[in-house]
Amino acid sequence: MSSEAVSSWCFSLADGRALADERTPRRTRIVLGTLGAAAALSAAAFMTVGARGDWAFVLAFRAEKLAGLVLVAAAVAIATVLFQTIAENRILTPAVMGFDSLYLAIQTGAVHFLGSRALVALDPRLRFVVETAAMVALSGLLFRWLFLGRRRSIHLVVLAGLVFGLFFRSLSSMVQRMLDPNEFAVVQDMMFASFNKVDTDLLAVAAAAVAGSGIVCLRLVHALDVLALGRDLSVNLGVDHRRLVTALFAVVAILVSVSTALVGPITFFGLLVASLAYQVAGSDRHRETLPAAILIAIVALVGGQTVLERVFGLDTALSVIVDFAGGLAFLVLLLRSARA
């Protein structure tokens, strides 16, 4: 190479580096800062708007619900981003693939085989842990093969998700028909998402699960970026693809269990927050997309719940609205990818 070329290359290199160094972190800081502020604002509004009477009681009561919403938001956001990285696809989510339905089927099965009376007597935390363990094992068994080894066609994966989801839902409803009415009432309570009735018994164990997943993500944040390059390139770069995907599948299963156990199934929420996070984050690095997705999810859930519950006085409508918006996002993404 001529010396002139070298010097012009050095110049352009220095130039580009300066640009990249300045632009990316600053943009990230602004985006994450804004989202963080919005999340804090929604939390503050959730705690205070429309409070009457004894503040100590109101704050304690609302703090529990807030903690539940934040945990659900974080669980759904992390699970979706991780899953989309494993699947190398930004339309698939655990919910679209039928993970939620699998968890519901496990819950329904527990009611059927143990009976609601035994379940009530059982410590809900123990039950959650056992159901989550079943979830990790079954989802690993059922879904992992789709994402290991040879690249499967996206159509096969979507179809498998559709079939699995339908299968678990039919299985649950078949079992429900065989339940006596009292037990059915217990199951029915689990079947519909409600952000108003967060299961507060589980907060501590759910928080531990989400925190644990967060730590795993933090440790794997660079490996996740490599994984996003696809199987072949990540194997070439020395990532143990099979082990990493297996571990991430377990994390996703645990997080889906957390959100489904706390509020119930929410199909399109994860898709919505993950797509928004990719849009606003400065790059596709996981150290940016993961926190962005979590914060967007918190703003949507906590802020949305505040507005609906306190301002409009509505009860269960948030899950409907969230799924409606998420469903629209799903359609837009599908149409856009069909055109591209």
Binding site: G16, H222, L229, L233, L237, V239, D240
Partner: protein, 252 residues
């Protein structure tokens, strides 16, 4: 040295790679040629542990690729497949920097930065380094991926059709660059090539495959004969000499 020892790979009943044994000594450029479906890419993928072999084994510098930890192999051997689609929106520079992952584990040092800059310069990607991959032409993207693999700084570099979607200028530049990498940096480069003239002009050694078997293994002069080419490709190919340079003419 890459030792391929009776490797077989089957898809259903057909053996795509059929009991292949080869020893590729360190250094120089080896080109693998042959008709479509001869098993060239599959063999390369098995060597790079991207696909498991059904039988036989492959060792790189004595390390069995099936059992050696991926992180260890990633510092010795790099492979680029023919088609690479990346979901994440990355700039050329970010992509090339991933080549340092086996060494830096995501925390690049000044040394890593130097490798990235060198690879980008080596492939003449400086003007494009801040561009996103989806804003590049196929040939530019191909060069970015090759830069990433070179940035990995491994002794062995396996490339599956690196000339794919490159124009004449860049194809020749790519081959000259690989020749330089072999001569100056002492790399061992194994390529799958379609164009036998490129293979003959740049490779030290050519391996020809047909129906999953090695049918020729030797220096380019040995392959560039009409009878040998006909046995590999099953078509009549004229070989013309221009000076001491042999050219296969198969266009009509």
């Amino acid at each position: 040295m890459i030792e391929i020892d009776s490797v077989t790979k089957r898809y259903g009943e057909t053996a795509v790679v059929d009991d292949v044994s080869l020893a590729l000594p360190a250094g120089g450029i080896t080109a693998i040629v042959g008709p479509n479906g001869a098993g060239k890419s599959t063999l390369l993928s098995i060597v790079a542990r991207l696909a498991p072999a059904d039988a036989g084994r492959v060792r790189v510098d004595g390390l069995d690729v099936a059992s050696t930890p991926g992180a260890v192999l990633a510092k010795r051997l790099a492979m680029l497949r023919q088609e690479n689609q990346v979901l994440a929106r990355l700039t050329v520079r970010e992509l090339v920097a991933f080549g340092r992952y086996p060494h830096s584990r995501g925390r690049p040092t000044a040394e890593d930065e130097r490798h990235v800059a060198n690879s980008i310069a080596y492939l003449g990607l400086e003007p494009l380094q801040e561009r996103f991959l989806d804003e590049l032409s196929g040939g530019q993207r191909q060069r970015a991926f090759v830069a990433m693999v070179l940035c990995q700084d491994t002794d062995y570099v396996l490339l599956d059709e690196p000339l794919n979607s490159l124009d004449m200028k860049h194809a020749a530049a790519m081959m000259r660059l690989l020749r330089r990498a072999a001569d100056e940096l002492g790399k061992s480069i194994v390529l799958v090539l379609h164009d036998i003239n490129f293979a003959a002009a740049y490779a030290d050694r050519i391996v020809a495959m047909r129906d999953g078997r090695v049918v020729f293994d030797g220096p380019p002069e040995g392959l560039m004969r009409e009878d040998v080419l006909e046995s590999v490709y099953d078509m009549r190919i004229r070989v013309e000499a221009i000076g001491d340079w042999r050219l296969a003419v198969y266009y009509r």
